[in-house]
Symmetry: C2
Subunit: 129 residues, 2 copies
DNA sequence: ATTATTGTATTAAGTACTTAATACAATAAT
DNA sequence: ATTATTGTATTAAGTACTTAATACAATAAT
């Protein structure tokens, strides 16, 4: 499920988003050491330069930090990660409502559709358990 | 609110999506004549070639058709438009759940957040009325 | 009949992104 | 002390997208 890159958007920004998600979801934990640029690049089947570009941006934002010749680490600022999770989730919600509104769905209709689909998904999970 | 183009994705595909949305939401009605390529391009502040690329794709899918020297028209197949609306909405819903799951939210949590935000948005609308 | 407008096509240039190949300094590991 | 690994930097090439300028055939409008 990792590194599913689409050709319609710059790869480096997709990599950036993925790593952000891994941090938010806890796959990469605070203070944890990241794989090297080369390893990450190989894992995602991209050029090291491209992975480096994504990591540099993450560093600019403060989500990771670098020890010059030792490697990169996830920030230990758990509060920052919590806030990021909150913000990204809110952005998802906003985007959903905005897009549905453009399609001609009212807020009520959008909520209703989510509830229905949510129930369906829930049932699918039940079957699997 | 129209033609809000972002630099992080090919413009022609964003144009394509916008026109699709205009068709779905009924801003452009079935059988209606579209503005000329040049006019649309000017309206969206893009090069005619770029707009042409978007329109050619819409034509490939069958959403618009061309009368050689007369102009382009929205399809009259209302059923096709209904199905498109259904599909695009379902894609939005699926994308929302998938993204939230990647962030670490369960289905129930995602539904709950939508309901809450929906209520807030609804209230904002009430104020305006 | 003439003119303006339609979609369409072509060529050239610029930009951003991506890959490939290579190199270097610093330091952790041995 | 030596070696391997770290992030980092550079140069060159290819690709896709976008713009700009221009042209053409067909036909609706006059």
């Amino acid at each position: 499920m990792s590194w599913n890159l689409k050709p319609d958007r710059p790869i480096y920004s997709q990599l950036l988003e993925y790593i952000q998600i891994f941090i938010i979801s806890g796959k990469y934990k605070p203070g944890e050491k990241l794989p090297s640029v080369r390893d990450l690049a190989e894992e995602a089947s991209v050029n090291p330069n491209t992975m480096q570009k994504a990591l540099a941006e993450l560093e600019r934002v403060g989500l990771v930090y670098t020890q010059r010749t030792n490697g990169r680490f996830i920030t230990e600022d758990e509060n920052m990660i919590r806030m990021l999770k909150e913000n990204v989730a809110q952005a998802q919600i906003r985007e959903f409502f905005d897009n549905m509104e453009l399609l001609g769905f009212s807020i009520q209709e959008s909520v209703q559709l989510i509830i229905e689909t949510g129930k369906e998904r829930q049932n699918e999970c039940d079957f699997k358990m």
